[in-house]
């Protein structure tokens, strides 16, 4: 009796777990299929390179792609060094249980949960107005950097903490300086955490809309410098689907480009990290 009841409970649990997994995968595949079905027809070389015409209903996304790349470049150019430095400080130079480390970590966790529109308002007030950068790719990129930093720092820090302490002790016992231990031993070993942070950060930055409306603006011309306003892909999609009647087809096409771009960034990041680690471990 009890035996058959247990077996039935097992069966129910199996069905539940499988259907949950299938549901999640199904929703994702449906979404992907939808975007591909509606968007793939429009994708062409000229779509990727030509400027939008007729408020984006016709033409392509050339300037939007350039603006998006510049935004990401500014974002990563600032957040990567700052994030790496902070993570090293947190993981290697402050005790995990110390008051300072706890305070910084708590603040970062709170910050990473702050809605992006709040970052947008802050960026608008600080970068656009106080620093006088106006609506520009620079303001937008810096705002994205602020938004991405908490995730980036925490992931890189976890990467460092995952490095066995044996390495640190072994290196110290061999009379290696802290700097070269950090550069040659700990940093390469922490690369997986760095990649995770990078992929999450780029993903969040590339998909960002709210924070950019207030900071980089939505001018869809080709930007001439970082101080020009520029429109990111996500804003372009938002604008086409919400404000431009008849813009759906191009919105789908732009969405497909964005999805492919994100998948490509993820793939590239893990490929580079893999190659780099291999070279570190197996030098010529």
């Amino acid at each position: 009796m009890a035996d058959s009841r247990a077996r039935r409970a097992d069966a129910v649990a199996t069905v539940l777990v499988w259907s949950a997994a299938l549901l999640v995968t199904g929703v994702f595949l449906w979404l992907l299929a939808d975007v591909v079905r509606h968007g793939a027809g429009r994708i062409s070389w000229s779509f990727l390179t030509s400027p939008p015409r007729n408020a984006g209903r016709d033409g392509g996304i050339g300037p939007v792609l350039v603006s998006t790349s510049l935004l990401l470049l500014v974002c990563l150019g600032v957040s990567l060094p700052v994030g790496l430095g902070t993570a090293v400080l947190l993981a290697e130079f402050t005790p995990a249980s110390g008051a300072f480390g706890r305070l910084v970590r708590r603040s970062l966790d709170v910050l990473s949960g702050v809605p992006s529109i709040v970052f947008g308002l802050f960026g608008n007030a600080f970068f656009c107005k106080t620093l006088g950068l106006g609506f520009s790719l620079l303001s937008g990129g810096l705002t994205l950097a602020c938004m991405v930093l908490p995730i980036l720092i925490r992931s890189i820090e976890e990467g460092f903490r995952a490095v066995p302490n044996d390495y640190r002790l072994g290196a110290a016992a061999l009379g290696l300086s802290r700097t070269s231990t950090l550069v040659h031993l700990l940093l390469p070993a922490a690369v997986p955490g760095l990649v995770v942070g990078l992929v999450l950060g780029v993903g969040r930055a590339a998909a960002e809309t709210a924070a950019l409306i207030f900071t980089s603006g939505y001018v869809d011309r080709m930007p001439e410098s970082l101080l020009d306003s520029g429109r990111s892909l996500s804003i372009h999609i938002f604008d086409l689907s919400m404000n431009v009647s008849g813009g759906d087809a191009n919105a789908y096409a732009a969405a497909l480009v964005l999805v492919v771009l994100l998948l490509a960034v993820n793939g590239l990041a893990s490929w580079l990290a893999d190659r780099w680690l291999r070279r570190r471990v197996l030098p010529v």
Binding site: L169, A173, L174, G175
Partner: protein, 255 residues
């Protein structure tokens, strides 16, 4: 000839807790000195003082005097990087870096100023021959060190330490994580290093201490702090200990 290691009145505290109380011990060169005693009696803490690895432990305070030849180990002005080159250390668990076999040896050598490629190759080969690893790994010098067996990894760590030509080598239970055969190989190796280095080994394996050691020091916890109870020639300490506590521990009645 290498200088002796002189420890005078060494006391070590972690916060309010005293781990070691007033230890005075001279470790002679050219011999193997074994530190024995139950867990938590401060043997590893003692080793960590001798190469200032204690600097890395927050809240750890060391007082007293330690000298390697004319080098004042505990003096804050002493350069710890030089100190740690002169006083090497082997850990309980083999800890090769996640590099190739060759880079495991070359990395510390480069950091200590050996840059010439030929010289590097020479020192790498000599160190690997010293630990009997050369023939086993000469065809896989560029392969990952972590792919070696546990015993080979520990010998690699030994080679890595020896490549820096230390005067003193501290060994913290170097065989305890190894299988009996690998353990025997490493043990024989350490014994062969006797003439080249001042060796200080912590071991829980009394049979091993008996086989290897020329000198032995017995530690015990009293009033919450680790203390040196008895020190002398190994044969005497194992066969006619002066203290009843030592005798009880050695015969397995306590500890």
């Amino acid at each position: 000839m290498n200088p002796p290691l002189r420890i005078e009145n060494l006391t070590l505290r972690y916060g309010d807790k005293t781990a070691l109380e007033a230890v005075t011990l001279t470790v002679p060169p050219g011999r193997i000195t074994a530190l024995i005693g139950p867990s938590g009696c401060g043997k590893t803490s003692l080793l960590n003082c001798l190469n200032r690895l204690t600097d890395l432990i927050p809240g750890c305070r060391v007082s007293g005097r330690v000298r390697v030849g004319d080098l004042d180990v505990l003096d804050p002005k002493t350069d710890v990087l030089t100190l740690r080159r002169r006083v090497g250390m082997i850990f309980q668990k083999p800890n090769p870096f996640p590099f190739s076999v060759r880079r495991n040896l070359e990395f510390p050598l480069r950091e200590h100023g050996v840059r010439d490629r030929r010289k590097l190759a020479e020192r790498v080969e000599t160190a690997l021959r010293d630990v009997g690893l050369w023939d086993e790994v000469k065809d896989r010098l560029n392969g990952p060190a972590t792919a070696l067996s546990g015993g080979q990894q520990q010998r690699l760590c030994l080679a890595r330490a020896l490549a820096l030509a230390p005067e003193v080598l501290l060994l913290d239970e170097p065989c305890s994580a190894l299988d009996p055969i690998s353990s025997g190989v490493v043990e024989d190796l350490i014994v062969r290093l006797r003439d080249r280095l001042t060796l200080l080994i912590v071991t829980h394996n009394l049979a091993q201490a008996r086989r290897m050691a020329d000198e032995a020091a017995f530690f015990w916890v009293r009033d919450g702090a680790g203390r040196l109870v008895e020190h002398g020639p190994a044969r005497q300490l194992f066969e006619e200990p002066k203290q009843t506590l030592t005798a009880d521990y050695i015969t397995g009645m306590r500890g």
